[in-house]
């Protein structure tokens, strides 16, 4: 597995590139890199989450929409396609090819951002995502993992209630008929919460009382927010950039430092920590190179091709081989994802062997012939790893 942090660095680099340039060639290359990574992942993740909307479909909707909207509301550029009557508010005026192009490029960037996040959803297991919640928000992380654990329980409870009511002749004809299903679910869940709270207390979970330094940290956070707001208002309302921006940085720094300090107060142990392998370093470096090529003005580095701008008249975009090469760094995760089919085959064979062994030792005396149960378990085995991502699966 590639480290979640490496994926986050890759995602940050991807977002940096996509927001830094409007050059269609670079945008398309970045999206192509994302697509290849996504395809590689799709072959690999056995228990892929169902994505609400595929990036392709997202792009097919967003691209024309963004182009049309920009063309209708921005009346700049020389290549006039048609003119709408000027009395029309906002829409009236020349419709230009340049505005259409620029809108389409914005849509392209949005599609790329969407695809990059889909990669994150595929690549990082839910458990690892929860593990990324900062330590300062320890109660929030506990609530999140309780909720994720209870989702399958709630769904099972829901099915039980529906069956029980169906036996009593309950049918759903209108909105009102959902009430006999929803209320038992809510009441049962709340009772369950009560038992859970008692079980947690019995096992020694107790919210520590807030100490004086902690309360002080919260006061510092409040002061930091006020400073941040003051700096921003100075900047926006009175154009005092020289005072405003340092004030904003100071306020933001106060908040972040207090959060960091609060996090230090929570001791944390990790069960089965994810290791950082050399390939994670390679991914981080390659992604960093790609982002740096777009964000940093290196001396002697021709960056003019990054700033493609269709106005006033459309021209063909520039292209620099070096920048394209750096952009290829975003492709690196695709090369480093372990070879998929063999690995999963090997894994399932290994799991099958272990399960057959366990079956044999548990059901001693019963013949394990071909073990249909074993095969079924193997098919479901990977879902155990990403357990909360498949809430429809019954906990076994």
């Amino acid at each position: 597995m590639i480290h979640p942090l490496a994926w986050l660095i890759w995602l940050a680099a991807e977002l940096a590139v996509l927001s830094a340039t409007r050059n269609p060639l670079y945008l398309a290359s970045a999206i192509a890199c994302t697509a290849i990574v996504l395809l590689r992942l799709r072959g690999r993740v056995v228990d892929a989450p169902t994505v609400p909307l595929s990036p392709l479909r997202f792009g097919l909707v967003v691209l024309p929409l963004a182009a049309l909207f920009n063309a209708l509301t921005v009346h700049m550029g020389r290549t006039v396609l048609l003119r709408l009557p000027t009395p029309l508010p906002l829409l009236g005026g020349p419709i230009t090819l340049e505005a259409l192009t620029f809108g389409a490029l914005n849509g392209l960037a949005l599609t790329g951002i969407y695809a990059a996040f889909i990669v994150l959803n595929y690549a990082v297991a839910v458990r690892a995502l929860v593990g990324l919640i900062p330590r300062a928000f320890f109660p929030v992380a506990v609530v999140t993992s309780i909720a994720l654990t209870f989702v399958p329980v709630t769904l099972r409870h829901w099915r039980q209630i529906r069956n029980a009511q169906a036996i009593r002749g309950h049918r759903i004809r209108g909105l009102h008929d959902w009430l006999p299903l929803f209320l038992p679910l809510l009441i049962g869940g709340l009772e369950h919460a009560f038992q859970l709270a008692e079980a947690m207390t019995a096992r020694g979970f107790a919210g520590a009382a807030e100490t004086v330094p902690m309360r002080r940290a919260r006061t510092v956070i409040a002061a930091g927010l006020l400073t941040l707001l003051a700096g921003w208002v100075l900047w926006l309302a009175w154009q005092q950039r020289a005072i405003g921006i340092p004030l904003m940085a100071l306020g933001g720094g106060m908040v972040v430092a207090s959060l960091w300090w609060l996090g230090r107060q929570v001791p944390r142990t990790t069960y089965r920590p994810t290791h950082w392998y050399p390939r994670d370093t390679v991914i981080a470096l390659a992604s960093g190179t790609a982002a740096a090529a777009f964000l940093v003005a290196w001396p002697g580095w021709d960056r003019s091709s990054i700033f493609f701008y269709p106005y006033p008249a459309l021209a063909s975009p520039g292209f620099s081989g070096w920048i394209a090469l750096a952009l290829g760094g975003l492709l690196v995760p695709a090369l480093l994802i372990p070879p998929t089919r063999y690995l999963s085959l090997f894994q399932s064979a290994w799991a099958n062997r272990a399960i057959l062994k366990r079956d044999a030792s548990v059901q001693e005396g019963q013949a394990v012939t071909g073990s249909p149960s074993g095969i079924a378990t193997v098919a479901m085995y990977p879902s155990e790893a990403a357990y909360p991502s498949t809430p429809t699966g019954e906990p076994r």
Binding site: L110, L129, A136, F137, V153, A197, F205, V255
Partner: protein, 274 residues
Amino acid sequence: MRARLASWVVYLTSATIGVIAFLYPFFSSTLSDEAAMGMEHANDAPLLLTVLIGICFGALLVEAQAQAGSAKMIALLGVLVSINAPLRFLEVAVSGPGGFSPIFFLIVTTGYVMGGRFGFLMGALTLLVSALITAGVGPWLPYQMFTAGWIGLSAPACRPLVRLVRGEGTWREVAVLALFAGAWGLVYGVIMNLWFWPYAVGPQEQHWQPGTQWTDGIARYAAFYLATSLAWDAMRLAGNILLMFVFGLPTLRVLRRFQQRFTFTYQPVEQAGV
């Protein structure tokens, strides 16, 4: 006393920063910064907004979780989120009724009954958990969590209004909550569009002309909103009102009963004076 003052400062300041952040794309186009008008058509608005919203969200989260320290509150919150979050499956699977989403009903009612901080955590975590289970982690998630959290945080504001119409336990209380939920249904959609608005707007030179007002940006947004989202969000408005009228009264009764059961504290015998 000082702690409460700090809490209010955090709520009000983060609300102000949030409002400015959401309006920023509109008047940034009229802030004729010489530096930003240069050759680099860099669009740093999304980055700045994300950082600011993130800082505000962190501050609010620390503020809200101070209340949820006990095992009872954590368990209650966890289970309520686990009931509410799968409702998003309905929204994702059955994409029939537009922007209708059943999750707001419980966020409003729990915020109203259990208090603002509880409501904030309920809103933010419902969105987080539902995003985790439906593979919906995206750039919109911080905005969703922030806004849904604010729905829960602001729900207790209905209490004085309910007291005014003497509606405790009657349909008048439900009517107030329905109006509140309906209004938020629309506002939620307006705010949710804003995460990509800086991309749709593009750099400022694109529409900066002499005499451009920041209201022009709002006019563009309004046009965009009318064309793409209003019908969608109207379904959310109608759905929230409908759900509140049908499920409101019994749910409030259940939540009140459990709130009494959950908010007891142990007292040592000698302190209790027995």
